[in-house]
Amino acid sequence: MAGDAHSNAELNAEVHIPESEHGAGFPPFDATTYSSQILWLAITFGAFYWIMKNVAVPRISGILEDREDRIAGDLSEANRLKEETDEAIAAYEQALAEARNKAHAIASETRAKLKADQEARREKAEAELNEKLKAAEAQIAGVKTEALSQIGDIAGETTSVLVEQLIGKAPTKTDLNKALKSAMN
């Protein structure tokens, strides 16, 4: 390969370019090539900078921004939907609570009404029973009084019959009454 360089140098010598200008020695330190390198670097890098600034960078940043916007948009949409869902859940729970309260109210109302009805019926029945009890008691008392009032006559009669059987002669009414009174008291 160095042979190529050598033959190049010979070629250059033929076309009247001195060896020193071709850069004998270390190529990066060969100052004769600097002007050309700087010029072409300026042209190419300048063009590259222009392309980057006006085409590539705006395009890539546009793509990235679009994606960011899209993601941000999707996230906010998701948030909005979540809020809507939360609202719906809250509304549902409120409705449920209301319904429960109403049911509670209806139940307790019904219970109170039924209780009152029952109470009234019970009181009425009790009153009737009391009345019947009183009537029965009165009847019993009547019967008892009557029985007690008749007991004297029965005792008299029985005593009179017993005495007659014992002594063969019926006692007098006055004696009988006297005897009965002393016995019963």
Binding site: P28, T33, S35, S36, Q37, F48, M52, V57, I63
Partner: protein
Amino acid sequence: MANDPIHQFHIQKLFPIEVGGMDFSFTNSSLFMVLTVAAASAFLILSTSGRGLVPNRVQSLSEMAYEFVAGMLRSSAGTEGMRFFPLVFSLFMFVLVANLFGMFPYFFTVTSHIIVTFALAMLVILTVTIYGLVRHGLKFFHLFAPAGVPPVLLLIVAPIEVVSFLSRPVSLSVRLFANMLAGHITLKVFAGFVVSMGAAGIAGAAGAILPLGMTVALTALEFLVAFLQAYVFTILTCMYLNDALHPSH
């Protein structure tokens, strides 16, 4: 002969052009500058032509490059630094593609010439200096007097800062140039060993396995260096731009 490691850096005139005694010939270096620009532009433009909301492979590669550089610039120079994005992105893509092109056999490595890297470094430094002076006026020189340094120490610190500022274009350009140059020379030397040992009979061919393995490993390393140097060049550009935007540290 075949393993002259310097030969790959020779500039050959393809179309001699001479204006006013100055040589502006279209050389192999110029050709590869054109190829670098064409390939990088074509890739970035064609890969994004679909403008896919969901990127395909090539589009996501372009987006990755964009976001990589944008992240670098934003983290070191802030949102304000984004006004320099086209420049920083161009520098990164140009250096990266030029470095990677250099990895092809028989291709010329544009960035292995100090004048090219120095011109790019000067472009950065001049952008920083001119923008800094236009934007901040004399306050730009606060760059050399960091806040919070006692006045006595300033006598020592300020000259150091001036020297470090002036050495920036040199370090920026020499770092890239030297890495590319040294890498390609090493690669060529080891590959040359393979050829010359292989020519020396069976024992030589067996021994050539060692430099061959070395060449393979170095090729991988050089791909890493190609990317890394583009990254280093760009991140330093971002830091220098930060100085132009915020000179008072």
